[in-house]
Symmetry: C2
Subunit: 457 residues, 2 copies
């Protein structure tokens, strides 16, 4: 098919929604390092994870051999509610940039959670329901994950308890109301409802919270409440597995038109979107079938890939969770107060960390004012007001497209537009008012986080 | 094609986006009454409208003979940014209601304006640009129209001045920020920036504003500022014309599967969505080719169809606009303070008013608590958090589907889901907290509005 026949939006047919998730770990020569017991520092056995996670999710978490895992019928049905998501050819943006680059983005924001998070939320809720649980607990930062989980739990009739990072809870009351509309209870974290929350509040009175704190609280409640388990929206292997639908759909849509991306770009907080978007492409790369330049984009204020250490670390601030080997800033790291939006987790998916360590992908960091400049430009020409998180990817996609303008190269760029910014207008207001600031942590500040890393042999 | 082959979401191809708008007035035996000069009460000539509207839009406003009007290439291109919109088969809702009814909805909310308003905004901005104007002025209530116009003006590089009903401006600061992100200026109305605004503030100190006031202000600024014209997001014939894309796409999607709706339902404030959704179906009805039951749904707190008078009235509170013959509550009518969301205009599209008067459609009114109950149910099972306005149509669609459950009839219901409720969380919060109230104006209250109707022979 000739290139100019490519529509603005490529929608797959409903029956082309993936029926299996792709597990990139199966194709990795160097597998991600195993989770460790936080006390003994020995690799965790499945049974040790059962008090925290559903059994089937534990199996997915530990499975690094099966390349494809069937998507249960119930989840496939739910996916039809909002998938396939469109792969959009950014003709308007290309024109505005006057670039010979061809830009595509996979838009995951056309659902009420406002992001890709629903892809894993529905899977985790399904397995919880199947195991006969009463409910699940979780944390949420920017709020997309909490909203997605609320929607998924409402669908399966599960109770949903969300611990929301206090600064987001206060800045985003409307996110809270969406979750409540879907029947979830929302508690600002750190809270006095948990032991770990009370401890953190005592040590850091007036703290505005962090994802690490909220995780500790949610895990405590899950493990102490009969019939509950904990679920997490990023970082974990199982989440990347579920999110592979993003990449599988993107690849199927591009394949239809014989298009092969040169560069694939995704924002990276814990890695859920990036890991999902790149997975089938990375699989080809790992199997030596194709090559792609893959770029992770993170905030300069929370630079786990670009300035973190590749080491075992706690997944949470309360140090009750397993240890994971990952690029990390230390579980005590909290981004500066001026940091808007998500992408604020101290660590990074073990799978992506290993791939990055092995030189299979790049990483770069960007400052938030530059990110919002790109967001505004994008909104005005492509018509979608992007989430701050997604706008990190936009920033680098625009920069790569502008490089093509200089060199005259007709590169094909694919990036992940994870979501919409409708609940991020406080941040946009700061940008509109010209009072948004940037912050890059000093080496000394980062060292404090590294000092808290556990000693693992 | 067999019924069970109908997918959850029917997307037309990009090349199936309508290339002509359909003008239902061409098929009406009784044409809508002409606009009158507010001073002389004589039918307005095109020239008299040129200081307010662009010339081509005046032509569209007055054209009641051409059934099809070409959509300019530039507008077709823009439509590709967010159209075709999906026609969704509400399988999840049908199952939750346990109804034999087949429910479809045309979802217009998947764009950053959050509603169908963009369909007319881009057309009006295009003609303004084509006429060489510098900018446009408008009013906005709930905010969708203002956002849509901001997006459209940003696309064509036009200045955009929005007068936003004060109560919405205060309750929806984030809507304002979206408009600012697209480069618009937003002023709460009534304001001291206009003569009419100052007059209204003097007469009603502390008023929270109304659409009628905001229209007066926007018209004043447009007519007094060189290179500006006024644009309106509803009520006008030209708006219904542009919005016919909703109905044309809906009908094309249903025709593909051989489906013919029995009942068509739309919410009605000024009539932009309803008029657009029903237009090709109404055309068939007018030409005697098919029959449909068509239901307009309005808030019980602003019941222009069901309790208004069919009379000539001012389109604005300041009485500077032309007179239109319509179902109206009087230009001084302001819905009670507890009324959430849009659908708060005192009048109704002349075209729809005539169709209703001629018995070609029905109207019903619903109270807002019942509306939000339907909205919550819909959000939980269909996964889309609906706008309060759209939820009026959901309420009646659900009620009709429940009637089918009682009678066992397998009716096919089509309704318009005009938009999303992401900026309406103050209202949802009231509902979630159980403090939402209903209000039905008394006959005496309505009489006050009727007393202000102009005397037209």
């Amino acid at each position: 098919m000739s290139e100019n026949k490519i529509p603005y939006k490529i929608y797959l047919d409903e029956n082309e929604i993936p029926k299996q998730w792709y597990n990139v770990r199966a194709d990795m020569k160097n597998k991600p390092a195993p989770l460790l017991n936080p006390q003994t520092h020995k690799p965790l056995k499945a049974e040790e994870l059962y008090p925290i996670f559903c059994k089937e999710l534990v199996a997915q978490e530990l499975n690094d051999t099966d390349a494809y895992i069937d998507i249960p019928k119930e989840i496939q049905d739910f996916y039809k509610m909002y998938r396939p998501s469109p792969l959009i050819r950014a003709y308007f943006l290309e024109k505005a940039l006057d670039t010979p680059a061809k830009i595509y983005y996979k838009f995951e924001g056309n659902n009420t959670s406002g992001s890709h998070k629903l892809n894993s939320a529905i899977a985790q809720a399904y397995y919880a329901k199947k195991q006969g649980l009463k409910g699940v607990t979780t944390e949420t930062g920017a709020g997309q994950w909490g909203t997605a989980l609320s929607m998924a739990c409402s669908y399966f009739g599960l109770d949903c308890k969300v611990y929301m990072v206090k600064v987001s809870y206060e800045q985003k009351p409307f996110r809270r109301e969406v979750m409540r509309t879907y029947g979830a209870s929302v508690t600002p974290s750190p809270s006095t409802t948990t032991e770990v929350g009370r401890k953190i509040l005592e040590a850091h009175p007036g703290t505005s919270g962090s994802l690490g704190c909220a995780i500790s609280e949610a895990v405590e409640v899950a493990t102490k409440t009969e019939g509950y388990r904990y679920v997490l929206g990023s970082v974990l292997n199982q989440v990347l597995l579920h999110q592979s639908v993003i990449g599988l759909e993107s690849k199927a849509a591009l394949d239809k038109y014989g298009v092969k991306p040169d560069i694939i770009i995704g924002c990276a907080g814990g890695g859920s979107n990036l890991g999902g978007l790149i997975s089938p492409f990375m699989g080809e790369k790992l199997r030596g079938e194709a090559d792609y330049r893959i770029i992770a984009v993170e905030p300069a204020s929370c630079p786990s890939f670009t300035r973190g250490k590749f080491a075992y670390d706690y997944c949470d601030t309360g140090m009750v969770c397993p240890l994971a080997k990952m690029y990390t800033l230390g579980s005590g790291f909290i981004p500066s107060a001026n940091h808007a939006g998500g992408l604020r987790y101290h660590g990074m998916s073990s799978t992506l960390s290993q791939l990055y360590h092995d030189g299979l992908m790049e990483a770069t960091s960007v400052e938030q004012t530059a990110v919002f400049e790109a967001a505004e430009k994008f909104a005005r020409v492509e018509g979608i007001l992007p989430a701050p998180e997604s706008s990190h990817a936009i920033r680098v996609a625009v920069d790569e497209a502008l490089k093509c303008k200089e060199t005259g190269e007709e590169k094909t760029i694919l990036f992940g537009l994870t979501g919409t910014g409708y609940f991020d207008m406080v941040a946009y207001q700061k940008f509109n008012d010209g009072v948004m600031s940037d912050y890059i942590p000093t080496d000394e500040e980062l060292q404090k986080g590294f000092d808290g890393l556990p000693k693992v042999d």
